[in-house]
Amino acid sequence: MSIIDLTSMGEPQSEQRKELNDRLTKLQDEISDYCFQCARCTSGCEAHKLLELEPHKIVALLKRGLINELVNADVIWTCMTCLKCRERCPQRVAPVEILFALKNIAVANGKQIPGKYTAMLQSILSIGLIQDIQQTTTRTNKTVKREELGLPPLSKPTDVAKFQAGIMKIAMEKV
């Protein structure tokens, strides 16, 4: 199994794409319908001032059916997932969840995954965790390893082949 299986839209994943599309359609038809553009989400958005994310506009664009444009926009990757928009929306719209769905579709469509996500995914596939044990330093610049601190062994999947087989099912799954 490779990263490609999990992230690209190879044939086996067409069902998964359908599921994502269904979910977005649901968001588009039902949830964002309740949005009356009060912009309370944007006023509290952690990514707004710094990166110009405007959650209420994402919802408005979605409502107008501009899914492809949203999926291909870099701005969907600026969300800090602070969840304030979901918490504070008077209409129970959850822009953060819409953004997750859009990012998932971008990945499923084979758009290049930004940053270190691919490396983290690779690490999860090989050892079950996003990174292995790191050597750290103290304030006085001494290097320290986990075992030197008397901490027990790392908890991680014991049978990696079985662990990967489970994840493989996500890549190959037909609904």
């Binding site: 990166l51 600026t78 999860i124 996500i170």
Partner: protein
């Protein structure tokens, strides 16, 4: 009565945020909490939520299934992991079709999710399960004169509808714990601001700017230090503080400690046992008895 939990370490705490793990393992047993180390846990899945939510759900479910196999409730010290596992349990309980689908996949590892577990984070474990009164009884060296700001971390506060360890808009449990330790929590306008960590994967500069802005605000208000309860937040505020300062053109000098480290200091434990030398921020400025 002794409380027993599987310690769910996640990825970040056991691979680099050793001070959190050390201070947890030193302090909680003193409060009659038995932590059980369980083999086979993996990433909670939360870091993959932007890539593939089904993968997130699957990874969380397999961890819940492992805890279930050992008949254990879960103590999850990381805010991100705590949200992932809580949300997964919520979905599996509410959506039988999804539960069946996930269980079909879990067969590969001879696992199954069938029953709910109790999932606690550091804040609700200390405040709700153990209780402020009991914590107070264990204090040997009150943290007198320590005036400190609190950072909760977004993922332990929201979304409220899933049931989070503290109130989404006005959390006060850490403040209550700090008061029990003899310290003085300081209120500040940026209390609910994000640490920036979720952007580390794809926009590291912006992530650090977020961190720098919050720390700078704390420094400018003359607050002595910051206490946190999540390995991601701590990585930003403590481990990356110097770099965060560069993004906002400020020389940052804010001591940042884990709540469990302060707990340990108040309980009379040594700096070494609590990993206080692993904090890269100037914790000696807090003039904690143990750190001298």
């Amino acid at each position: 009565m002794k409380k027993k939990y599987a310690l769910f370490p996640g990825c970040l705490m056991p691979t680099e945020q050793y001070a959190y793990e050390l201070s947890i393992r030193e302090t909680l047993p003193l409060l009659d909490v038995e932590l059980v180390d369980v083999e086979g846990f993996s990433c909670c899945g939360e870091p993959m939520k932007s890539v593939n939510q089904l993968l997130t759900l699957y990874l969380s479910a397999r961890n819940l299934a492992i805890a279930q196999k050992h008949h254990l409730d879960l103590f999850v010290p990381c805010a991100m992991c705590h949200l992932a596992l809580t949300e997964c349990q919520h979905i599996l309980e509410k959506n039988p079709a999804m539960k069946d689908r996930i269980n079909d996949m879990l067969v590969a590892e001879d696992l199954a999710y069938t029953e709910k577990r109790h999932i606690v984070h550091t804040v609700d474990l200390l405040h709700d399960e153990i209780g402020v009164q009991k914590i107070k009884e264990h204090v040997k060296k009150p943290l007198q004169g320590v005036k400190i700001a609190v950072h909760y971390g977004c993922h332990i506060l929201r979304p409220r509808e899933l049931g989070r360890p503290d109130d989404s808009e006005n959390p006060q449990k850490i403040e209550a714990i700090l008061k029990a330790l003899g310290a003085e929590p300081v209120n500040y306008p940026q209390k609910l601001d994000c640490c920036g960590a979720p952007l580390l994967a794809n926009l590291p500069e912006s992530a650090l700017t977020k961190t720098g802005q919050k720390l700078q605000a704390i420094q400018e208000q003359g607050i002595q230090g910051l206490v946190d309860v999540c390995p991601w937040c701590h990585k930003m505020f403590d481990s990356r503080q110097t770099k965060a300062g560069e993004t906002v053109a400020a020389k940052l000098d804010v001591p940042v400690v884990y709540l469990t480290q302060l707990l340990g200091v108040a309980f009379g434990l040594s700096a070494e046992k609590l990993g206080l030398d692993l904090n890269l921020s100037p914790v000696e400025k807090l003039q904690l008895e143990a750190a001298k």
